[in-house]
């Protein structure tokens, strides 16, 4: 008999890594080694297992918009750090550092452009920016993108990737849930279509506001979508969650999203929908 018996399985890396720099990358799902150029051509999905890599607003703009038609808006809106928040690092410093490193203003990029020659107002979250969290800036930029839709009478398309509301702005962040949902009420009254695209992951205060409020909610395959995070739920109910829990397929099954669309068919599907909406 062995001296040491492993009672638990080995520690496994469950968190998905952001796209590493270099020529080759490994699929976190099936382990396939993929040439970076090939991954790009395949819209950042694994050619072998269709795993959807986490990507940011630059990539989604490239995927969804007709070349050279996207115009970014409201880049000048920046966090004011209303609570002078500090944990292991000052929140203000954290923001500045991320802005510099990632060339983003905050966790939501907004703008407008042509999708198969149809003009749409667009927002896309960046999970890399403080977990894609929603504070005052995300709320205000979403609000303005929605108002732009309203004013031009064009569809609103928003891609979510977020852990929820931003803790560093506390109650201010919480109120953004009401703010973003309220402006969607105006869109609904004006019969302007809103398509919500949920990517990995979409949880917390964003899923519980504009994430779930699309006329159509589209999920990317295998995305984690829910209100509470899986770890919190496990701690609460004190048992393991079943496999596939809170994944896109689970959400379709439970009636929370309309359909799952692979990234390669995303542009086409959105286009067909906005034609149907008559926008």
């Amino acid at each position: 008999m062995a001296w040491f018996v492993r009672s638990k399985s080995n520690i496994q890396e469950s968190e998905q890594r952001e796209m590493p720099d270099g020529l080759w990358t490994k699929c976190p799902s099936c382990g396939e080694i993929i040439y970076k150029k090939q991954l790009e051509d395949n819209l950042y999905t694994c050619p072998k297992c269709d795993h959807h890599f986490r990507i940011g607003s630059d990539e989604y703009i490239q995927i969804l918009f007709d070349e050279g038609t996207f115009v970014e808006t409201n880049r000048n809106i920046q966090s004011a750090d209303p609570l002078d928040f500090e944990d292991s690092k000052k929140y203000a410093d954290r923001i500045k550092e991320l802005q510099r490193k990632q060339n983003l203003s905050d966790a939501l990029t907004t703008g407008y452009g042509l999708l198969k020659s149809k003009e749409v107002s667009f927002g896309c979250m960046n999970f890399n920016f403080i977990g894609g969290s929603m504070g005052s800036v995300v709320g205000e930029k979403f609000f303005r993108a929605a108002k732009y839709s309203l004013q031009k009478r064009i569809p609103l398309i928003v891609v979510s990737a977020t852990g929820g509301a931003r803790m560093q702005e506390a109650a201010f962040s919480l109120m953004q849930m009401a703010k973003t949902s309220a402006v969607l009420g105006e869109l609904a009254e004006a019969k302007i279509p809103y398509i919500s695209i949920l990517t990995d992951p979409t949880t917390g205060g964003v899923s519980a506001s504009y994430g779930m409020l699309g006329d159509v909610n589209i999920a990317e395959p295998g995305a984690l979508i829910g209100f509470a995070g899986p770890r919190v739920i496990e701690q609460t109910i004190k048992r393991k969650l079943p496999p596939g829990f809170q994944r896109s397929e689970f959400l379709v099954e439970h009636g929370m999203v309309d359909l799952i669309v692979s990234r390669k068919k995303l542009k086409d599907t959105i286009y067909k929908m906005i034609l149907w909406f008559g926008a």
Binding site: G204, A208, L241
Partner: protein, 318 residues
Amino acid sequence: MATNVILDFEKPIFDLESKISEMRNISDDIDISSEIEVLEKKVEQLRAEIYRNLTRWQRVQIARHPQRPITLDYITNCFTDFIELHGDRTFRDDPAIIGGIANLGGEPVMVLGHQKGRDTKSNVYRNFGMANPEGYRKALRLFKIAEKFGRPIINFLDTPGAYPGLEAEERGQAEAIARNLLEMSKLKVPIIVVIIGEGASGGAIGIGVGDRILMLENAWYSVISPESCSSILWRSWDFKEQAAEALQLTSFDLKAHNLIDEIIYEPIGGAHRNPQEMFRIMSEVLSKEVSELSKTKEMDLIKNRREKFYKMGVWIEE
């Protein structure tokens, strides 16, 4: 009600009070009534002073005080003819949110709120005031009834959060809260929201969109509880005091940031110290708010409500 629960910082007050009652017991032989009177004054001074200088964490403790009035106490004491309405017509009745029709000073209103329990048994039944999706959907159903019959809505917020359970996810906790936020922003009747205890995150704001947002002096309202904030940012539960400070979650903070309209002051020593006085204050405030909002035209009501939330947030525009 259970025996008195004394919070750490309240101890000096209770020590003094028990000294006074001891003195009363021996005062049959000698007259020390003047000394007692002096001490009683001192107790009042001490209480006022302690409650004037509470830290944020101490206020969180008061907001969770086991004897603090909860939704049903306000409904019973500030309203008449309450008839509870049950169920979301889809899945089940959620005891963590209660509501129904009632009269407020003779005016018909819809009143609802998160409902915590008073002891272990009732807390289990009420799920500690943590609602499931059907709770939010019941609330929405009640809102629509109020809208249909033109009655004002009064919501009491008091929850440690929406329930993070497996079934809650299956039934769409996120969607249920999101739908309420959108629908409440365009209801055609006045909505008054009062945060009476804990206002934790999406679970609170899920019934928290309104024309007037009022907050009890010792309630808290934020995106996360101090404990969870501590565990995420400091990777330990021990920094809850610091987290409470950092989150700026008291009524005074929210008022200073223009995120609520008014603070409702509690009797000295907190709502649990003098519930009757608290109910009197609450009734008065609610009646005033209802009569003022009833004068506003329907269109203005919705426009103002939207504008109110659109203005929330602080950013720099360069």
